[in-house]
Symmetry: none
Subunit: 226 residues, 2 copies
């Protein structure tokens, strides 16, 4: 989970860093003190949420929000000392999703951040990554060395299992179990056909594989590509 913080006040940065460290250490905080830099970071880093201070030294905070909204719908919380109603309305109408006034309370702040992230649709979309291979197990979309390869459901399950154990051998039983459940007699035959089909999709020469390798008597394993 990536959180972009656009804020110039060192005290606030520290307070928020601390809050995340204590309450939500698995989140990555990307801080910047400049609004312009912030807009660029939204594009380059694709954060899951943006926290934007309206009182920046270089540019007007509303402008930053407007620029972000030109190309991104990233959830954005506005943070400011002003508690003026007109500002709140303006911020929300311009596309902010929430609004917190300083001084804020640590727990409320984090609760709002989490409530907003929960609302996001693709928030739980997880990718299986192994070296240069990236697989989206829900769609069966595999990216590998610039190519986009479409896998079927079964292929995707096998591939995900191999990638999650990337580098280590996976037994036939474990692989078959992940796809067909533990006791299905035909699995052995079916598996070798599916391995072939996978190799035809990902290997340069399917009969001389460099990625999905055989461990005779054991199972298969995925070699880390150079």
């Amino acid at each position: 989970m990536k959180v972009l913080l656009i804020e110039d006040d060192r005290e606030i940065i520290d307070a928020i860093s601390l809050a995340f460290q204590i309450r939500w250490p698995e989140a990555t905080l990307i801080p910047t003190r400049l609004g312009q830099k912030g807009v660029e970071l939204v594009e380059s880093e694709s954060p899951d949420i943006v926290i934007l201070d309206l009182g920046l030294p270089d540019v007007n905070g509303f402008d930053v929000l407007r620029q972000i909204r030109l190309f991104s719908q990233v959830p954005t919380i506005i943070l400011t000392v002003r508690s003026d109603e007109a500002d709140i309305v303006k911020g929300l109408e311009w596309g902010a999703d929430d609004y917190i006034t300083k001084p804020f309370r640590q727990l409320e702040f984090l609760a709002r951040v989490k409530a907003l992230i929960r609302r996001q649709v693709g928030a739980e979309e997880e990718l299986v990554v192994f070296g240069p291979l990236r697989l989206d197990p829900t769609t069966g979309q595999l990216s590998y060395s610039g190519k986009e390869i479409a896998l079927t459901v079964t292929e995707s399950q096998i591939m995900a299992h191999l990638m999650r154990n990337g580098g280590r051998a996976v037994t036939h039983a474990s692989l078959a179990g992940a796809v067909w459940g533990d006791d299905y007699p035909g699995a052995a035959d079916s598996l070798k056909v599916h391995i072939r089909r996978l190799r035809e999709k990902v290997e340069e020469n399917p009969s001389n594989p460099r990625l999905i390798l055989t461990r005779t008597g054991i199972g298969y394993f995925m070699a880390r590509p150079e």
Copy 2:
């Protein structure tokens, strides 16, 4: 747009009714003074948003929220006199989306309601753009390679969903969920018919589509046109 208000204080009901009448007359306000009744109304009326007062006479407000969350993800704003931080956190963690303390300011209140609805349905979005395709989801008007194509409401929802995920596969479940909600048995049949109708409108040869492509076992995806 339906707004369910669960509130017992006559003054607050009046204040909110007035705010809606003046600022947002096209919204329908459904008021109830009982928490239990409120839960039933969420089910029977399917409101677009719920405003829930925690200080109800018959039941505890948190219980009402919990009961609603058992079957519905409707956006919910909690309204209360308590400004105690623990309550705010508790409310948000239990699934509320926003929290406003009384006394509240009319404009801020409405801005928060609208911001919540907007991030719920993406209603604010004027245009969905993908490559040379431009879709106005509010009117169903689609421009594509010089042609102006009128889509029906359902078609437009499906198209928008595909375009927003342009290039990436979208699962049947996600597509159907976006149109008919999450558990509607007939969705699978209906979806394939709507896909056909869309293809008849946008494809040169609907039986050999180049834009709306199938991922068997997964769903559909929109190919980036050259």
